[in-house]
Structures are given as C-alpha cells and as structure tokens.
Amino acid sequence: MNPREQIFDAVRNHLPAEKIDYPQIPVFQKTITELLPAFEERLLDAGATFFLPKDLREAQFLLEQQFGEASVICSATPDIKGNRDIRQVKNPHELADVDVGVIRARFGVAENGMVWLTEEDLVVNALGFLSQHLVILLKPTELVADMYDAYVKVSLEDTAYGCFMMGPSATADIGAVLVHGAQGARSLSVYLV
C-alpha cells in the first residue's frame, strides 16, 4: 500500500461510529440595510480610505493628486491609466518597484469592508501585494451585505486565485501595537466609481 492508501485506510478505520448530518444553515436576518454607508464605515475600521469621484476622469485626477510623487503606477484596469503596462509583465519580479497598483474589484462586502479581487482582475497576482499602495476601483452598487452573500458570488470554479482584501496589510506582532504596511500594501484607497 502506498502512503495515500494507508492514510485512507487509517481514516476509514478510525471514523467515529456516529455519523453527523450536515446541518441546515438558516437564512439569518440581515442586520445591515443600507449597504453603502456600512461598507464605507467598515473600510475606515479596516484602515482603508475611500473616495467618491464623479466619474473615471475625476478618478484619474484624484489618483494623480493622491500619489503625485509616485514614480511607478501600474494599473490592471482599463479605467485608469498608469505608467507601467501590466500586460507586458512576464515575471512578477518586474512589479517590485511599483508605487501604486490600481485594480478594479468585482464587489465589496458591507459587513466588513472587504473587496473581492481575482487573478483576472489583478492580471499579475503580485500587483496586489508588491505595490506599496493600492487603489481599488469599485462600483458603489456592487455590494453584498455579508459573507453568506459574498460566497454565493465568488464562483471559485472560474478563477485560480481570489482574495478578499480588507484594508491595507497590518500587524500587531510588536508589542501588540497595530501597524499598517507589514508586508503587503501600506495603504488601500477605494474609489467608489
């Protein structure tokens, strides 16, 4: 017997006698009724900021204002122009010097301020993690109330990688003090547009 078969054998021999049924997951009463204000509030709790540009032109202007000193801006969405073409990136290492990464998220979660990003949205996954700062574009109508609704929408069958991102990178490993920008992005701005 190979190790795989031995493990299956051991598991089968040790299965508890009483079989437990898969539980009914009830539909819980939603506590959040106004999704957008809740989402905005949770973004701030998570250490993110948000902006409400009128249109994409204003968003582009806002980006330039917010990150006037950035030398490398790499956008994975056609809605915003950067100065590094992500479609030309062959190796994630090429993104090591990105100051600002711009990505359009599929949807946000009002319960906790998360945004959902897939490999298709990131184009190169590393953009979401090597960039010093992130700007996330999100349609303000693309919100779900909570994680139950969120997992109905993720469709994990269709993407090799998907991430719920909730604000910037954070740690409290030194003296239990919260610090942003541990390994991933130092800041995360959501443009609701």
């Binding site: 190979n2 190790p3 493990i7 299956f8 051991a10 598991v11 089968r12 021999n13 040790h14 299965l15 508890p16 009483e18 079989k19 437990i20 898969y22 997951i25 009830p26 819980f28 506590t31 949770r42 709790d45 998570a46 994630p92 319960e111 906790n112 490999e119 190169v124 996954n125 590393a126 979401g128 993690f129 909570d146 994680m147 139950y148 997992y151 109905v152 993720v154 994990l156 069958e157 090799a160 990688y161 998907g162 991430c163 719920f164 991102m165 909730m166 990178s169 954070a170 740690t171 409290a172 490993d173 030194i174 003296g175 239990a176 610090v179 920008g181 541990a182 390994q183 991933g184 992005a185």
Partner: protein, 469 residues
C-alpha cells in the same frame, strides 16, 4: 529514549518571576484580545447559532472524512495542483525537499503554518542547505530568536517591543534603543522584501480546504502568504487532513467566526482562495496525517480535530495568560495545546493537563464548540491510569482516598484542629516540605469548632426527636 517530561508549572513560574513587565503585559494584551472578541461576537445576533453550525459542519466532515478527502484531491488535481500524501512529519518534509531539490531551489519564504511547525520542517530543510525565511513578522521574530512560536496567532506575544528591538539590532542592524513598533516593522519590511524576491518557492499552510472545488483558503493580516504565493514560481501548501470543509458556502460561516474569535476583528485583512496554480506557476499540495487519523479514532478526544486554530482559547485562558506559550514546551500551547500535545507524546506532555484550573472559559469561547475543558479532565484520567502522575501526587491522593472511604477514621478526631491536620483540605498539607501554599498565601485560620461539632452540640437532639415520631 523517552523525551524529557515538560514541567509547565516550573516554566510558568520562571516566566512570571523574570521581571515585573513581561507577564503583566502578556496578560493585558491577550485579555484585550478576549475583550475585542466579546464585542465582535456580541455584534452578531446569531453568534451562538454560528458556533453550533460550525461545530456540526466540522463533525459532519470528520465523520465522513474519507469521502471529502477524495473529493478534495480529485478537484485539486483537476484544477492543476499536484497532490502528495504524507503519513507523518518525515514524509511531509521529504516531499518538500524533493520538490525543492528537483528544481534546484535553495531559498524559500514561508508564511505561518502550524503543521509545518509540527513537522519540524524548517530545521529539516536547513540541515539540507535550504535558507528558510519566515515572512509573518511574529514568526520572523521567533525565528531570529531561535524560539518556536508561543501563540498560534500571535507568535511573539510574550515579547515586548524592547525585546524585539534587541533581536532586530543583532539580526538586521536596527537601533537597539528604538522600540517604536513602526520603526521596527519598517526595518523588517525592507529586509523581508529582498527575501521574497530571492526565494525560489513560497510555502503556506491552509486554514480551510474546500472539497467541492479543490480550493484552499489562507487567512493572514500581513499579506505575506499572498506574496509568497504570487512572487516565486513554486507554491507549496501543507494541509492537515482535518482542514476539509464540504462546500464553498461553509466559508460564510467559518470566515465570520475565525478572526472575530482570534483577534476580535471582522476578518483577517487577506482571505485568499487558491484553486490551482497561478498563471505561469506551480502548485504543490501536501496532504498530511501526522497523527490525525489516530486522533479521529479516540472516542474521548476526536472533537479536538474540529479546531480552526483561532487561538481564542489561549487568549481567554487565565493560566496561559500568566504562563506564556513557551511554558508548554510544545508546538501547541494553551488549552488547545493541552488536549493536542499528549496525542503526540503522552509521557512528555503528561503534566500539561494539570496546568489548568478547569475554569471552562476555553470551552465557552471556542468557535467550533470543542469541549476543551472536559477533554483536559479526561486527559488527567488517562495520565492517572497510565501512572504518569508524579509520585508525590499519587501518594497524597491514595492516602486521602483511604480516609474518605472510612468515615470513622475521617471523624476519628473530634477536634477541629486534628481534623484539619488529618484531612482538611489536603492541598494545604500537600508537599509540606516546600509549602507552596504559604509562599504567597497565609494559611486559613482553623475554626475552634467544626460544623459537625456545632451540629452535634446544638442540633442533633432536635434532628433525632424529629426522626422518632
């Protein structure tokens, strides 16, 4: 040769006695996490229902584990991952080594994985010339200080910022007197960055593995697992066989519970879902048993496999907060450690079940409703039966047992003082030479008259009158 028995009480005493800073800070910080957890839980009206559902989903999965493991494997392969099976730590480490060796990879970056910790993987790889860098800040601190993590979510929580400033100054040349967490974090960020870019492979663990899609989920606050998976070409994930959940929708329940229980935050900053290799990359999944299937067969203890490693039981444990996680001398510390560690080595960890007041707080916070406190008591029974009880303890109790058996002996002395000396309460007299009661406590004053004497003097006549019509 039997491993040396861990003495958590002595280790904890050393943790407390080192100074007036570490233990109070440790207690305060973890208690703060418990308070944040309470607030986060209170904000969800269905919190207790969620715990029940999570517990049932885990119990369902574990009682049908063979089926779900097969399903997970088939789907992961379909998605393009390469799946390996490891019966124990040695096989796990060998798989990792083979993958690295075949690709001539000499440096890896890893995120936190308790399973890899359990397997002693880092040491195994280092002796074979692989440079292993922990990317989680807390784990990195512990790695540089040559210590295992002391907490499963906050690996360096037993250290102060001043301790860390010392460690970083030696390792990466920071100012030893600058204890500002922002400064220290920034310095380590710069150092880690290089290592991420140099690494030939990124290693992660997994918080959950979804049978119906072959996906596994990794939760971090730093994003370090994602960098490790996104930058090097090779991603290796170590997954314990108990991590399986049947469906994607189950995550709605578990993600809501995990970080609220752990740190009182609504979720971790990053909840990442890996279903197959990323574009241009490789994904290797090592499904590992390492004692789990045996545990599944232990009637009294298999529920411990439901654990989602949130650390809530550690944060709330009053004994853990005063002891520091390293006192447990094992991969897992705190209440969950007490019930897991003996499954790896009963003799070495035979004292752990006694490092508890059985206050029961762990059982109440556990998001998957593991009966931790009852399992601790059941482990004591195992230890007592197997004669792992320290000899002094055994003697004290068999003497007490004899007295309790025979009321005449028990009441033989009719004065309070001698009753006290004989039996009451035996822990005051236990180990008299060292007198551990008296180091921090005055002895209670024994009454001039016991209740029994009072009763006989004042009430017994009454009682007899009543009983005889």
């Amino acid at each position: 040769m039997a491993a040396k028995r861990v003495d958590p009480a002595a280790n904890a005493a050393a943790f407390i006695d080192q100074d007036d800073i570490h233990e109070p800070a440790h207690d305060r910080n973890l208690w703060a996490a418990r308070m944040k957890r309470d607030a986060a839980a209170k904000a969800i009206p269905e919190w207790e229902d969620l715990r029940t559902i999570a517990s049932l989903i885990k119990e369902h999965t574990l009682t049908h584990l063979d089926k779900y493991l097969e399903q997970f494997e088939a789907n992961a392969i379909k998605r393009g991952a390469k799946v390996y099976w490891a019966r124990d730590a040695a096989e796990h480490n060998q798989h990792v080594w083979n993958i690295l060796n075949e690709r001539k990879i000499s440096s890896i970056i890893k995120s936190k994985s308790m399973l890899q910790e359990e397997c002693g993987m880092t040491q195994f790889l280092e002796t074979r010339g692989i440079t292993v860098t922990e990317s989680d800040l807390g784990e990195r601190i512990q790695q540089l200080d040559n210590q295992p993590p002391s907490h499963i979510v906050m690996p360096a929580i037993h250290k102060t910022a001043a301790d860390i400033a010392q460690i970083f100054s030696k390792a990466i040349g920071t100012d030893p007197n600058n204890t500002d967490p922002h400064y220290l974090n920034e310095a380590m960020r710069q150092d880690a960055r290089k290592r991420f870019l140099e690494a030939g492979a990124g290693m992660t663990g997994a918080n959950f593995a979804i049978a119906e899609t072959g996906t596994f989920v990794v939760c971090t606050n730093e994003g370090n697992a994602d960098i490790g998976a996104a930058v090097p070409r090779v991603h290796i994930a170590s997954i314990g066989i108990e991590k399986i959940l049947p469906k994607v929708e189950d995550l709605g329940v578990f993600i809501r519970l995990l970080s609220r229980s752990a740190l009182g935050t609504l979720a971790t900053q990053y909840t990442s879902h890996f279903s197959g290799p990323r574009k241009g990359g490789e994904l290797h999944i090592i499904i590992t048993d390492n004692g789990r299937s045996k545990r599944l067969g232990m009637d009294d203890f298999w529920h411990s496999l439901k654990c989602i490693r949130c650390g809530a039981c550690m944060n709330t444990c009053p004994v853990y907060r005063r002891s520091g996680g390293l006192s447990y001398g094992a991969t897992y510390s705190g209440p969950i450690g007490i019930i897991l560690d003996p499954t790896f080595d009963e003799s070495k960890y035979s004292e752990l079940p006694y490092h508890s007041t059985l206050c029961g707080s762990c059982t109440e916070v556990c998001p998957v409703k593991i009966d931790i406190s009852d399992q601790i008591l059941r482990w004591r029974k195992v230890m007592a039966e197997k004669k792992f009880l320290p000899i002094s303890r055994r003697l004290a109790f068999s003497a007490a047992g004899k007295i309790f058996e025979r009321p005449n002996l028990f009441h033989g002395a009719e004065t309070a003082a001698s009753a006290a000396l004989k039996i009451t309460p035996h822990f005051l007299l236990y180990n008299r030479a060292l007198n551990p009661w008296g180091r921090h406590r005055e002895l209670p004053h024994f009454a001039k008259q016991t209740f029994r004497e009072w009763f006989i003097q004042n009430k017994q006549q009454n009682q007899e009158d009543k009983q005889q019509p």
